[in-house]
Symmetry: C2
Subunit: 182 residues, 2 copies
């Protein structure tokens, strides 16, 4: 988020046909829950338009980047790397250390989110392999819980710039407005 | 979770072809993050086998139920109903009240998770319409953050019964074992 060191989310291992909506949800979750940027690698790039469209309509700042090759991004990252995997250390055990690196040491954070069969280099290059439970579930769910815990809920209060539409919280029903001029 | 009042997740509005993997992720997220049961309504029923298979291999208790019609489930629910929607009240504003109803008043909780275009009755029948941000992102991400906050992280420590496979947390790499005999 804006005044904090960058948090970028890298989406790996997108399988065309199978992962279209999953990759879109990864991108939109990164945006909604406080990351500054999503990097869509290889065939995941096809999902960039939807994320850009939501950012146009609902605001930013949020960057959507596409790359052909993900390896240089992970290997050369100038900061710390978290890889979300059900095989990793439990999030409740390592989250404080990761928050310290991000907040106290002001390290930009790359959060790597794969599909099935993540190449072994990712496990090795990551500073932390982190499991949101050691159960098989969803990379979207893992990303969401990880970001909420990383930011300790601050992401829920972030403000959006240049939005065409703003949703006003309602007890019942839907209310969408154009933002007031400043 | 086992000693607490039931938490069930109802998946509505599944669109065949488009939502297959999303609905699977909703079911697996419900299981991994502490719900007791997922109810797959209408065409979402096609995804039950994957959730049952994961429960067989990684343990339970967790129930997977399929129903033709969701309306009686919501209308006749004996407890409280939460509907997750980007148009609702902010989760950080209402979560304490929902936790109180679930824990102190021992009310079973139904968490309704829709796709696009949820029928208006759901908004009316829900005790709380809850937004995990008022931004468009993912019903999987909303469910994950909601359950993690409902249980205040206790779901991460739950134990699994009758698992054929147990993942042992690792700093690097993967370790899967058959559980020790008791």
């Amino acid at each position: 988020m804006q005044t904090e060191p960058e948090v970028a989310v890298l989406r790996l291992g997108h399988r065309p046909g199978r992962d279209e909506r999953i990759t879109t949800h990864v991108g939109l979750t990164a945006r909604a829950l406080g990351a500054d940027r999503v990097i869509l690698a290889g065939q995941a790039s096809s999902r960039a338009d939807t994320v850009l469209d939501i950012t146009d309509r609902f605001g930013g700042p949020f960057e959507t980047e596409t790359v052909e090759s993900w390896r240089p991004i992970v290997r050369d990252w100038d900061g710390r790397v978290v890889h979300l995997t059900m095989y990793g250390l439990e999030v409740q055990e390592v989250e404080a250390e990761i928050r310290d690196a991000h907040q106290a040491d002001r390290q930009p954070l790359l959060v790597v989110v794969g599909a099935e069969k993540v190449p072994f280099e990712v496990y090795e290059w990551a500073d932390w392999n982190v499991a949101v439970t050691n159960q098989p579930h969803s990379e979207i769910a893992s990303l969401a819980v990880f970001l909420d815990r990383l930011f300790e809920g601050r992401e829920l209060d972030r403000e959006w710039e240049d939005a065409e539409k703003v949703v006003i919280p309602q007890e019942v029903g839907k209310r969408v407005e154009a933002p007031a001029d400043e």
